[in-house]
C-alpha cells in the first residue's frame, strides 16, 4: 500500500476545499494535499457554467468554472499538492485516510489535520415514495446539469421540475436555452425554496409556469416518463382530491434540496447535527474530533459560493495552525443555539477567547419567511449582545451577524448565546 504523511489533508476540491488548502499553506503547514474523486479540481462549480459567482469576494460576476480556476491557480502557486481521480473510502478518528485510485491502488494518508470538504448531495427523496412507475426520465436537477453541461447530452425534451431549489431554477433556464420545453415547475411550499434572484432571472424571465403548493402524485409511462400527475396540497402537504392535473412530459427533474455528504465524517466519529446534516463545528470550524475540521456544504448548505470560500479559509487556517501546533486549546466553550424563527446557527460552539482576538461571524437560516423588516438579535444568557435589521428574511438565504472583540465582555462569562428573529413593530 502506498503510504504518505501530510500536515494537512483536505478531502474534496470544491471552493471550500481549495480555500482551506490555500489557507493551511499560508498558516505555515508544509505539506498540504487536496484529494478529489473527480478527474479535475473545482467541485460542483465545474458544472455551473452560468454566471452569478463571486459577487462578494471578487465584486465580479463570474461563471462557476471561472471562479474555481482563480483558486485552482492560487493553490498551485502556493504549492498545494493535488491527488485527483482518487476516492476517499475511509477516515479514522486518528486522521488516517484510506483512498483508492487507478494509479496507486490503495493509498493511505496520515495527516496531522484533516479538513472535510466533501460538499453535499441532492436529495432524491421526493421521488422515492411517489406512486406510479419507475421509468427512465427521472433525474435530480444536478444530475441533469452534469449531463447537459459536462457530458453534452440532453436528458429529455419536455420537463416538469419538482421543487423550486436553485439548481432546478437554473436548469429550467438552461434547458430552455437548449430548445427543450419546461412545462411546469411545482413547489409544495407556499413560497419558492431557492433564491429570489434565480427566480427572477431563470423562471420569470423565461415564462416558466411555476405553481406553488402543488406536488407530483403519480408518474405515468412504463419505459420512459410519459406524463406526471400533479395535485394541490393542503397545509399538511396532503394532496387535495379533485385538483389533479395530468401534465404530458418525458422527464421529471427533482430539485428538492441538498444534504451535506457526511458518510466519511460518520466513519471518523464526527458528530452530526440532525438539523443540518453536517458536523457540529466550533468557531474554528473544528468538529468534535480533534484535528478534524470541516468547511463548505459539508457543514450546512450555503446559498452563495463566496461564503463557502470564507468558511474554507477559516477552517484551513485553523487546520494549518493545529498541524503546526501553533494553536493552544482553551477549554472555554460557549454554546450557540437557535431561538425564535431560527433553524440553526453555525458555529454551534465557540471559544470566547477567540472573540477577544478577532471578530467572528454567526451564520444562520430562518425557519419561516418574513417579507417585512425584522430584528436579528444575539443574546447572551438572555442579555442583548447585538442586534441588526434585515429588510426581509427567507429560508433560502443565509443570514450573517458579526460579533466583534467589543462584544467580548458581554459574552465572556455567559453559558449560552442565542440568535433569534423578531418582527419589527
Amino acid at each position: 500500500m502506498f503510504e504518505k504523511q501530510y500536515d494537512v489533508a483536505v478531502i474534496g476540491s470544491g471552493p471550500g476545499g481549495l480555500a482551506a488548502a490555500i489557507a493551511a499553506k499560508e498558516a505555515g503547514a508544509q505539506d498540504v494535499v487536496v484529494i478529489e474523486r473527480d478527474v479535475e479540481l473545482g467541485g460542483i462549480l465545474l458544472q455551473c457554467i452560468h454566471n452569478g459567482f463571486g459577487s462578494v469576494i471578487f465584486k465580479e460576476d463570474l461563471t462557476g468554472p471561472e471562479y474555481a480556476y482563480r483558486f485552482i491557480d492560487q493553490a498551485r502557486e502556493v504549492g498545494v499538492e493535488a491527488m485527483m481521480d482518487t476516492f476517499v473510502l475511509d477516515l479514522t478518528p486518528h486522521r488516517e485516510i484510506y483512498a483508492i485510485n487507478k494509479r496507486d491502488g490503495m493509498v493511505k494518508i496520515n495527516a496531522r489535520a484533516v479538513v472535510l470538504a466533501m460538499g453535499c448531495r441532492e436529495r432524491p427523496r421526493g421521488a422515492l415514495a411517489i406512486p406510479g412507475f419507475r421509468p427512465a426520465g427521472i433525474y435530480t436537477a444536478g444530475t441533469a446539469q452534469r449531463l447537459v453541461n459536462i457530458e453534452g447530452y440532453m436528458p429529455g425534451e419536455r420537463f416538469v421540475i419538482l421543487g423550486s431549489g436553485d439548481i432546478g431554477m437554473i436548469m429550467a433556464r438552461r434547458l430552455t436555452f437548449e430548445g427543450a420545453k419546461v412545462e411546469r415547475m411545482l413547489e409544495i411550499l407556499p413560497y419558492i425554496s431557492g433564491l429570489k434572484r434565480n427566480y427572477v432571472q431563470c423562471v420569470l424571465d423565461y415564462n416558466i409556469p411555476l405553481q406553488l403548493q402543488r406536488t407530483v402524485i403519480d408518474i405515468k409511462g412504463r419505459n420512459r416518463v410519459e406524463a406526471v400527475v400533479s395535485a394541490q396540497v393542503d397545509e399538511h402537504w396532503q394532496p387535495i382530491p379533485g385538483t389533479e392535473e395530468t401534465i404530458p412530459c418525458d422527464t421529471l427533474l427533482l430539485s428538492v434540496g441538498l444534504i451535506p455528504e457526511n458518510e466519511l465524517s460518520k466513519k471518523a466519529g464526527v458528530e452530526l447535527n440532525p438539523l443540518t446534516g453536517g458536523p457540529y463545528v466550533d468557531d474554528t470550524m473544528q468538529t468534535n474530533v480533534p484535528g478534524i475540521f470541516a468547511a463548505g456544504n459539508v457543514v450546512h448548505v450555503y446559498d452563495l459560493v463566496d461564503w463557502v470560500t470564507k468558511a474554507g479559509l477559516l477552517a484551513g487556517r485553523h487546520a494549518g495552525e493545529y498541524a503546526t501546533q501553533r494553536r493552544t486549546e482553551s477549554d472555554r466553550k460557549l454554546r450557540v443555539v437557535a431561538g425564535d424563527n431560527v433553524h440553526h446557527v453555525i458555529p454551534e460552539v465557540l471559544d470566547p477567547s477567540d472573540l477577544e482576538r478577532e471578530p467572528l461571524e454567526l451564520q444562520f437560516r430562518v425557519r419561516r419567511p418574513v417579507e417585512a423588516p425584522v430584528w436579528v438579535k444575539v443574546e447572551a444568557d438572555g442579555e442583548l449582545v447585538k442586534r441588526k435589521t434585515e429588510r426581509y428574511v427567507r429560508p433560502s438565504e443565509m443570514i450573517m451577524v458579526k460579533l466583534s472583540p467589543k462584544d467580548y465582555d458581554k459574552v465572556a462569562g455567559a453559558k449560552k448565546l442565542s440568535v433569534r428573529v423578531e418582527e419589527k413593530g
Binding site: R37, G105, R121, G132, M154, G179
Partner: protein
C-alpha cells in the same frame, strides 16, 4: 409483434428450447445442461429475470402453508430442501433465518395449529409453535399483543434475481445457448399421430428454431403461448400486483426477522421481512388487474402496506424508504402450479400459474420438468464434464483492503469508484457487461452490482454508467437504455434544437 416471413426461416436446431429466462426457465436450463443435450434458452427482454423474478418477496418458504395434496404443496417442501445447496453451488446469497407466522388473537392460534398440521403432513421439518413471550424475546419490535407464533426453522431469504443470473450463467458455462431480445411468437406444429400433434419448434423475431422438446416457462405470458396451441385450463391467468416498501439498511427500528401475519381466508396479508442484503421490506399487497405490464405503484397500495405492517410492528415508522416497487404474480384460478405435457401434443411441456412459492420450489420444479422431458422421449445422458459450480465476480466493497489492492493492481479499473453509496467500481461494471449473461442495460447492472440503490439513488453514477455502457457496447450514449425498449436516458447531444422547435 407481427410474424414476418423472415421469422419463419429456420436458424437452428436444438434438442430442447426453453421459452422464458425467468428464474424457473433458467433453473430448468441449468438442470438440463448436465446432460448431453443442445439447449436454447430465450427471453424477449434485454436481460434475464426481468419478469416476476426480479420483484418479489424473496422468501424461501418452508412449505407449511401450500395445501397438502397439491403439486405446489409437494414441490415447495422438496424445493426448500434443495434450495440452499443450490445457492452454495451457484454462489447466490441466502440466509436460513427461519420464518414466523405471528398470531395476534386466540382465534389466530387455531390457524397456527392448522398450518402446523398441514406442514407436518407434508414433512416440513422442525415446525414449532412458540409463545407470545418467546416471540417478543426473539423480535422485541413485534406487536405486544402477540399471542404466539409458528416458527419454521427451514425458512429463509435469498436473492431471486441473482439466482436467475447465476443459474443462467451456469447453464451457459455448460453449453446452453442464451438468446435475449428473442420473443417466441408462435410454434412450429407438425402432424404426429392420430391424437397428437408435434410441437417441433418456435418462431421468434430472430428466426425459427426447431427442437425435439419445447418448454414454455413464460411466467405471466404463459396464456399467450397457450393460446397459440389452443391449450385451455379451467382458469385464466390474471396478474395480481404486489406492492412493496424497501428501507435503508441503516434505518433505526428495523425488523431483522421474517414475520408473516396470520393468513385469513381472503389474504395472506402484509409481511415484514428483511432482504438477504439487510434491508427491511414491507409487502406485498394483492391487487388484481388485466394489464400485465402495469408495474406501477398505487397510493392506495402504499397506504395498505403502512396499515398492514403496523399490525405486526406497531412502532414502525415509514422513514428512510429507499424504494417502492411492484411485482406481478401470475395468478390462476386453480391456485396450483401447472407443469405438464398436454395430452394433445408431443414434445411440449407447459408451465403455468407458477406463483408464490415459485422461487422456493424452483429446484424441485426443474427436477419435475426433467422427468417430463424424459417422458417426451429424450434420452438423458450425463455429461462427463458438467460443472455445477458457478463463482460470482468479486464484490469490491466486501473485500479487505489488501484484496482490493491486489485487484486494482491486476485491473486499474477497480480503482475507480462509479457508485459512491454502494462502492461499486468501474472494474465490476465492466466485468458484468462482459459476463456470460451480459448486463447491457442500466437496470441489469443495478441488479447485479447494487449500484444506484443507495442514498443518492443513482444521482451520482447515472452519467458515469451511461458513459461506460456506451463505450463497452460500442453504441452512442443516446442508445443506452434503462431496462426495456424505449427506456433511453438521453434524447440528443446538446446544442441542436429538436425538429420544429
Amino acid at each position: 409483434m407481427d410474424i414476418k416471413e423472415e421469422y419463419k426461416e429456420v436458424k437452428g436446431k436444438y434438442d430442447v428450447i426453453i421459452i422464458g429466462a425467468g428464474l424457473v426457465g433458467s433453473i430448468i436450463a441449468r438442470r438440463l445442461s448436465q446432460y448431453e443435450l443442445d439447449i436454447l434458452l430465450i427471453d424477449k427482454e434485454p436481460d434475464v429475470g426481468t419478469g416476476t423474478s426480479k420483484a418479489n418477496t424473496a422468501i424461501v418458504h418452508a412449505g407449511y402453508d401450500s395445501p397438502f395434496g397439491t403439486l405446489r404443496g409437494k414441490l415447495v417442501v422438496k424445493g426448500n430442501r434443495m434450495f440452499y445447496p443450490m445457492c452454495e453451488e451457484l454462489d447466490v446469497p441466502y440466509k436460513i433465518t427461519g420464518t414466523y407466522v405471528v398470531a395476534l388473537t386466540d382465534e389466530d392460534l387455531k390457524t397456527l395449529e392448522k398450518l402446523m398440521e398441514n406442514g407436518r403432513k407434508k414433512g416440513v421439518p422442525g415446525l414449532e409453535i412458540i409463545s407470545g413471550e418467546e416471540m417478543r424475546r426473539r423480535e422485541p419490535l413485534v406487536n405486544p399483543e402477540t399471542t404466539g407464533a409458528l416458527y419454521a426453522p427451514t425458512g429463509g431469504v435469498s436473492d431471486p434475481f441473482m439466482l436467475t443470473v447465476a443459474a443462467a450463467e451456469n447453464a451457459v458455462m455448460n453449453g446452453t445457448d442464451l438468446m435475449l431480445e428473442t420473443k417466441a411468437l408462435d410454434f412450429v406444429v407438425e402432424p404426429f399421430s392420430l391424437h397428437k400433434k408435434k410441437v417441433a419448434g418456435v418462431v421468434t423475431n430472430r428466426g425459427t428454431f426447431l427442437a425435439d422438446v419445447t418448454i414454455a416457462s413464460a411466467g405471466l405470458y404463459c396464456d399467450e403461448l397457450m393460446e397459440k396451441l389452443d391449450i385451455k385450463y379451467d382458469f385464466y391467468v390474471r396478474a395480481r400486483k404486489g406492492e412493496y416498501y424497501v428501507f435503508d439498511k441503516a434505518k433505526k427500528g428495523s425488523v431483522h426477522n421474517v414475520l408473516f401475519p396470520c393468513p385469513t381466508p381472503v389474504t395472506k396479508g402484509i409481511l415484514v421481512t428483511t432482504t438477504v442484503h439487510g434491508n427491511m421490506l414491507l409487502g406485498p399487497t394483492a391487487y388484481e388487474l388485466k394489464d400485465k405490464e402495469d408495474t406501477s405503484v398505487r397510493a392506495e397500495g402504499l397506504a395498505e402496506l403502512r396499515e398492514g405492517a403496523k399490525r405486526l410492528v406497531p412502532s414502525l415508522e415509514i422513514t428512510d424508504v429507499i424504494r417502492v416497487f411492484a411485482g406481478l404474480r401470475a395468478g390462476g384460478f386453480l391456485h396450483d402450479f401447472i407443469i405438464e405435457a398436454p395430452a394433445k401434443y408431443w414434445g411440449f411441456i407447459n408451465l403455468a400459474g407458477i406463483e408464490s412459492p415459485g422461487m422456493a420450489s424452483s429446484p424441485a420444479i426443474a427436477e419435475y420438468v426433467e422427468n417430463l422431458v424424459r417422458e417426451q422421449g429424450l434420452e438423458l445422458r450425463k455429461k462427463k464434464d458438467w460443472n455445477p459450480i458457478r463463482v460470482g465476480r468479486p464484490d469490491f466493497s466486501e473485500l479487505s483492503p489488501e484484496e482490493q489492492a491486489i485487484l486494482i493492481e491486476k485491473d486499474p479499473r477497480y480503482g475507480r469508484i462509479v457508485c459512491r453509496c454502494e462502492t461499486v467500481t468501474e472494474g465490476e461494471i465492466v466485468a458484468e457487461i462482459h459476463s456470460p449473461v451480459p448486463a447491457r442495460t442500466y437496470d441489469a447492472l443495478k441488479r447485479r452490482t447494487w449500484l444506484g440503490t443507495g442514498r443518492c439513488q443513482g444521482g451520482f453514477d447515472t452519467p458515469r454508467v451511461i458513459e461506460i455502457l456506451s463505450r463497452e457496447l460500442g453504441i452512442p450514449p443516446t442508445e443506452v437504455i434503462k431496462e426495456s425498449w424505449g427506456s433511453n436516458f438521453l434524447t440528443r447531444p446538446t446544442k441542436d434544437v429538436p425538429e420544429g422547435g
